[in-house]
């Protein structure tokens, strides 16, 4: 199942800030490691002692249930000591600055910081100021590397290889950190990527990225081997990006009726949580084409892999 590894193959950064610029071999290395770790999740005793004595803090400045639980589970499966910090009820709401928070973490000798923040660049801000390993759990509309990694792991399990695969990312691209990380990762592994959504939700300069852009969902469905359907933040309608959710569903919603028109049904992915009846119809979400729950399982494996690979202390090579 797992090929013999090339000795010395490893991640070149001690942090995981994003997938931009990460070579395909490193991404594959993380996915291979995740594959090897997945088995632990099916054991009667779902725990290995690997990260005993390693302290991880989950620093969530923005509400997130799934990502935080997934990281927490990964940390527990690896026997790390973990602490949770979320914005509500913490000193941040009392006006403590990010810099103070960072300095406190440093003083507490935390080994690994998993950070989610509404502002892009915050993981890098912490990496510049802390000795801890920083793992980006989503920074604003910038990157969400572990989400893209779990999406790619799911694709690899279903299709065997990502090279040459056609993946369409559908929906609110402009405000999505999932889209950007997926674009970088999928391109590094040799996939073709299409972005599909209304022009108001396409990022500026999308045309200059190495991807296709289209505004016709039927075209995207017939082109793609897999659709990654993004969550539509409901407040986008209020901010004027969309006339109505109803119209969005009619124009870009993934429905059985639409899928059935395609010669071959694409695989359906969704980073969750889903707005059923908006970007995706329940019948699709619960169908055999949907791998939404596999994504959740893979999320734990991918996060375990990242933690295992990055938690080894830096050895000064002479």
């Amino acid at each position: 199942m797992t090929p013999e590894r090339v000795k010395g193959q490893e991640l070149s950064s001690r942090h995981l800030l994003g997938l931009e610029g990460m070579p395909g071999e490193e991404i594959s290395h993380i996915l291979d490691t995740a594959d090897a770790l997945k088995e632990i999740l099916d054991r009667p005793i779902k725990k290995v002692p690997t990260l005993r004595g390693v302290t991880v803090v989950n620093l969530f400045f923005e509400p997130s249930t799934r990502t935080r639980l997934s990281f927490e589970l990964a940390e527990k499966r690896l026997s790390a000591d973990l602490m949770n910090f979320s914005k509500t009820g913490s000193s941040v709401s009392k006006g403590e600055t990010l810099l103070d928070t960072a300095q406190n973490i440093e003083a507490m000798r935390i080994d690994v910081v998993v950070v989610r923040h509404q502002c892009p660049g915050v993981p890098g801000f912490l990496a510049d100021r802390l000795n801890s390993v920083i793992i980006n759990a989503g920074d604003g509309a910038h990157e969400h590397p572990t989400q893209a990694l779990l999406d790619m792991l799911t694709l690899r399990q279903k299709f065997g290889d990502i090279k040459g695969l056609k993946v369409a990312i559908v929906g609110d691209i402009a405000h999505s950190r999932v889209a950007l990380s997926n674009i970088y990762g999928l391109k590094a592994l040799g996939a073709e990527v299409m972005l599909c959504g209304p022009p108001t939700l396409m990022p500026r300069g999308a045309e200059s990225l190495p991807i296709k852009v289209c505004h016709d969902i039927d075209e995207a469905i017939s082109w793609a081997d897999a659709l990654n359907v993004l969550r539509l933040q409901l407040e986008r309608q209020k901010s004027g990006f969309l006339p109505s959710l109803r119209e969005y569903h009619m124009t870009f919603g993934i429905t059985m009726k639409r899928l059935e028109k395609a010669a071959e049904m694409p695989l359906i992915m969704h980073p969750g949580p889903m707005n059923r009846g908006v970007e995706i119809e329940s019948a699709v979400a619960d169908s055999g084409h949907s791998v939404v729950l596999d994504q959740v399982t893979n999320g734990v494996a991918v996060r375990m892999a990242v933690l295992v690979l990055l938690s080894a202390p830096e050895v000064k090579l002479t």
Binding site: T97, P120, G205
Partner: protein
């Protein structure tokens, strides 16, 4: 920095004297007596002399756009520290923006600023607010403000969205004979943007400020200036679109002038990669094509002034995530060195053009008299060494704030300080023998 009282009579020897207005550009000596230039020539003598071999002496530079933060935000800058930064950067005068607390919308506050600046050789000329409280609703008492000493009017940072207000302000500018300085930005289009909207903002995940936000506001204000005949001055022009609109308006005979900043001339949106909050300002750093267009306009001499938009901010308001950081960068102490290094050394401008764009150009925009190097002129001079190599080190700044995107840059050419009336103020000590 303490100003140093100069001898009653002295000679500045051997510097290169540049005054484009007088058609002067040659090495020579100056004799100054009681703060007035009395003689220009060679082999002049006086009781004491300062050997300035290798330096350039030129009419004092003027910064058309600074924020001195006082009153109200003295932890970022005070009038005095701003003056010290100006002297160290080679400026003998500057126009300060009204976004203080209280805002400069009443004669009393404007008078207070002028009095506060008195006693240090750098002249401070307040720009008063266009509307009361800079709220974009009611005009300020522009006539009284002008008489008190305001040299222009601006709601810098909070441009009015209401074209009717802008129209009346431009009409009033005819009465008060001072420009309306436009921070041209459509705030609805800028929304919550943190940087220029481009492929780079997409890659960084930062909300964008589209170029049309500046283009549209610029074109609106130009049309209002054309209709009213009022004098419009475009602050910190940054897009190619706004530049074209400006150049076409000038051709049509509209009374419009413009300034550009060193950061828009020398940096593009790529500088934001890495999320250094000292690259965050308004208007944001644009694309390379905009930067090149601005550089070309310098060559073509269509722009009147280089102004720094010196905007000090405390450490606390900059060491935060990019999105949450304050807009603005300091510039008084780097502008001249940057422009000399990147423009003269690279053939964009002649030394005389630089002197012109820093001394004559900005003063003409606000109707101030231009200092001169000629016998009988009151002394107001900038001393500058074109060969001095230095590195921008924020710990050496006289400004209270260190938010410079140019930290660490290696430059050639650096101001020493200024001579104004009877005093010297600057980075280096006078060396009279």
């Amino acid at each position: 920095m303490e100003p140093i009282r100069l001898p009653k009579k002295y000679c500045l020897k051997g510097a290169r004297l540049i005054d484009p207005v007088q058609g002067l550009d040659k090495a020579g000596d100056l004799v100054i007596e009681n703060g007035v230039i009395t003689e220009i020539g060679s082999d002049l003598s006086a009781p004491v002399c300062w050997d300035m071999q290798g330096a350039i002496i030129c009419p004092g530079f003027f910064d058309l756009h600074v924020h001195l933060r006082e009153p109200g935000f003295e932890d970022a800058e005070t009038i005095r520290t701003g003056q010290e930064a100006a002297a160290a950067g080679g400026f003998t005068g500057m126009a300060c923006m009204p976004n203080t607390e209280p805002t400069l919308d009443q004669a009393g506050v404007v008078r207070w600023v002028i009095q506060q600046a008195d006693g240090f050789p750098v002249a401070v000329h307040p720009v008063a607010a266009v509307t009361k409280g800079r709220k974009g609703e009611e005009l300020t008492e522009m006539v009284e403000l002008r008489e008190t000493g305001a040299v222009g009017f601006s709601d810098d940072g909070s441009p009015t969205a209401n074209p009717e207000i802008m129209r009346r302000a431009l009409e009033y500018s005819l009465l008060v004979k001072a420009p309306i300085i436009s921070h041209a930005e459509d705030l609805d289009l800028s929304r919550d943007g943190a940087m220029h909207e481009s492929e780079t903002s997409t890659r960084l995940g930062l909300p964008g400020i589209p170029r049309i936000s500046e283009d549209i506001a610029t074109i609106r204000d130009i049309m209002l200036a054309e209709y009213t005949g009022g004098h419009l001055h475009l602050a910190h022009l940054s897009t190619e679109g706004a530049l074209r609109a400006f150049e076409e308006a000038v051709k049509r005979g509209v009374r419009v002038t413009a300034e550009v900043t060193p950061h828009h001339l020398l940096l593009s949106d790529k500088a934001v990669e890495g999320y250094d909050t000292d690259t965050k300002m308004k208007p944001p750093l644009r694309e390379e094509s905009d930067r090149m267009a601005l550089m070309e306009s310098l060559k073509a001499k269509s722009i009147q002034a280089i102004a720094t938009d010196h905007a000090p901010h405390t450490f606390e308001s900059k060491v935060v995530p990019y999105d949450e950081a304050a807009f603005g960068v300091v510039g008084l102490e780097t502008a001249v060195g940057l422009i000399w290094d990147r423009c003269v050394d690279q053939g964009v401008m002649e030394p005389a053009d630089i002197v012109s764009i820093f001394s004559q150009g900005p003063r003409q925009v606000v109707g101030l008299s231009v200092p001169a190097i000629k016998a009988g002129a009151p002394m107001e001079l900038t001393i500058f060494h074109p060969e001095e190599s230095w590195q921008v080190k924020t710990e050496e700044f006289y400004s209270k704030s260190i938010n410079s995107p140019f930290k660490g840059w290696e430059l050639k050419g650096r101001p020493w300080g200024i001579l104004k009336d009877t005093h010297w103020a600057g980075r280096v000590e006078p060396d009279f023998k």
